[in-house]
Subunit: 257 residues, 3 copies
Amino acid sequence: MQVISLITDFGLSDWFVGTMKGVIARLAPAARVIDLTHDVPHGDIRGAAFALRAGYHFFPKGTIHVAVVDPGVGSARQALAVQTSNYFFVGPDNGVLSFALRREKVIAIRLLKKANYFLQAVSHTFHGRDIFAPVAAHLSRGIPIRRLGPPANDFVRLSWPEPVRHNTKIEGEIAYLDRFGNGITNLPAELINPLRATKCIVHSRGRLICPLKPFYQAVPLKRPVAVVGSSGFLEIGVNGGSAKQSLGLRIGTRVTL
Amino acid sequence: MQVISLITDFGLSDWFVGTMKGVIARLAPAARVIDLTHDVPHGDIRGAAFALRAGYHFFPKGTIHVAVVDPGVGSARQALAVQTSNYFFVGPDNGVLSFALRREKVIAIRLLKKANYFLQAVSHTFHGRDIFAPVAAHLSRGIPIRRLGPPANDFVRLSWPEPVRHNTKIEGEIAYLDRFGNGITNLPAELINPLRATKCIVHSRGRLICPLKPFYQAVPLKRPVAVVGSSGFLEIGVNGGSAKQSLGLRIGTRVTL
Amino acid sequence: MQVISLITDFGLSDWFVGTMKGVIARLAPAARVIDLTHDVPHGDIRGAAFALRAGYHFFPKGTIHVAVVDPGVGSARQALAVQTSNYFFVGPDNGVLSFALRREKVIAIRLLKKANYFLQAVSHTFHGRDIFAPVAAHLSRGIPIRRLGPPANDFVRLSWPEPVRHNTKIEGEIAYLDRFGNGITNLPAELINPLRATKCIVHSRGRLICPLKPFYQAVPLKRPVAVVGSSGFLEIGVNGGSAKQSLGLRIGTRVTL
């Protein structure tokens, strides 16, 4: 059994995701499809890149991750298939795959129509269904990635927001806001744990001092708290509330440790 | 492996869709269920009929499409199972299947409880779980459709909005609004391509001239554009925006070519 | 084939549910996952308990139901696995399983990390992925439940709102509001049917007399109606509308029969 994961900004209210799955079921009946999410904000390539980075490595070895957040669909942007030591990745060459690939050795391929692994009629507006789903289906059936097109010498890499170290301080930022309103920072557990820090400062509306605790309920209800979250990054939350709303967190809000 | 697709207006916030899948897993463990969508607006039979029409033919041959938008559940409306050359369709006889069946030769069956393919206790309010899911499960196991009940001499057909031709003009209308705010018209590619048209007129707030392009990004950001969309119909969109919001598109808005 | 059902308050907009499914696919490739729902309101343990109670028994025998609404994640609350005559249940020991278990004979186990059925690194904030998904995966592979930890002598049981009988009246309340705005009461069909009642009284804004009918469309459009719903309880609805909005129903609104 081969797993194909999907992350898109198509939402679930139309037939778009359903037809991607129909195409996969037609071309690769044995593949199993798992939704990572389809509610990436419309066109938010960075948000999708972060979510894929946070989730891809929990999947079985050999999983084919398909990411379609593709505001440039139909234009000259390229399409990619990538193989790493444990996974495959398929999507437009606009950076959406790049956070997950940041530390991986990759074989990257530029997808070509003439390789005959697309749907016969390719629309200008829905490559998720016509290119990326069929390519994932063919990969799941064991087609070698090199058959899909020529090597891609390079591909678009979004800049990862690296934490900055000033003497005793480390400065980071909010990189993702989840649906609970928690702000996930770019500060990884490996940086935080050796510091034995007991608090951080959130620079949203003024300076907010925020205690570091092992879990949300370790502070009183409605109080802010920083925890090393399940993605391995420091998260700013509010016990029983939304840090986005009550602290005014935004993507890019500075957090110092 | 047999595929069962589901389209409903049940949403995903309650247990309704989950229990339909539980029933299918119980009766047909080998069937695979794919969601077309469950976010059809409540009671919007036409919207569901259009979505089913746009999506059904991307599924594997033999797929059983179940459509449950059913404001008349429990009343005297009939229930149908339909076989076409490539697919099965199951749902209430209220028109929800009719756009997908428009050009198909069909065997249509009126579902009868005494045929013993429903759940034992049929509620008055949830035929999706008690009738349509079990019937789809039995069909996926190879039960011949004629065992499900007597032939249906006729069934409810919604009027498809046919484009109208006036000399050199072709007049159509918005038939569906997707979640990106694109307006999908009833003007098919076969009508449009021979015309080599370069623009169309959208009659929403006054007359709006809208260029025909191969893809959305072929116009500047926030500008309106018409493309032959992935469903094979002319679509009115706004590059990087919502045509529904910025052009005021509605179902029925006239579009002339 | 073994079925695992999931009910959570994680929503579908982040990668949380997707990674739970990734973990299950890794540990139990043959298991099939069915979503009961992921849109339980954030932290609403009672709502999830009711939805699980309403849906679990439609699943195949042997299904493993995983319920993760877990505001106390990371704190001292225990984690449970429970076996009944037909099903398994996995979740935090905060009452979320208790409505489904109300009338069942159970074997209840307190999950222990040292039993080695969790992910190797257990986060403090996402036991759905790190504890409950792997435990369900192992159960689906036939691991005996007693290996997961010691017997739980007791577990948290939420108080089920029992209907109250006064001479000729039976008094109940709204126990759940579905996404259509129907109010599902705690009055079961077994209580109602013998009474041959023709109406009930809803005490929301003043006293509203509401006819008992077999289905919603048995009253004129926009009129209130009471039906024995698909969960086996009396429901208060409005034909073609939302009883929540137009009648002002709330959880706890009194309904007398």
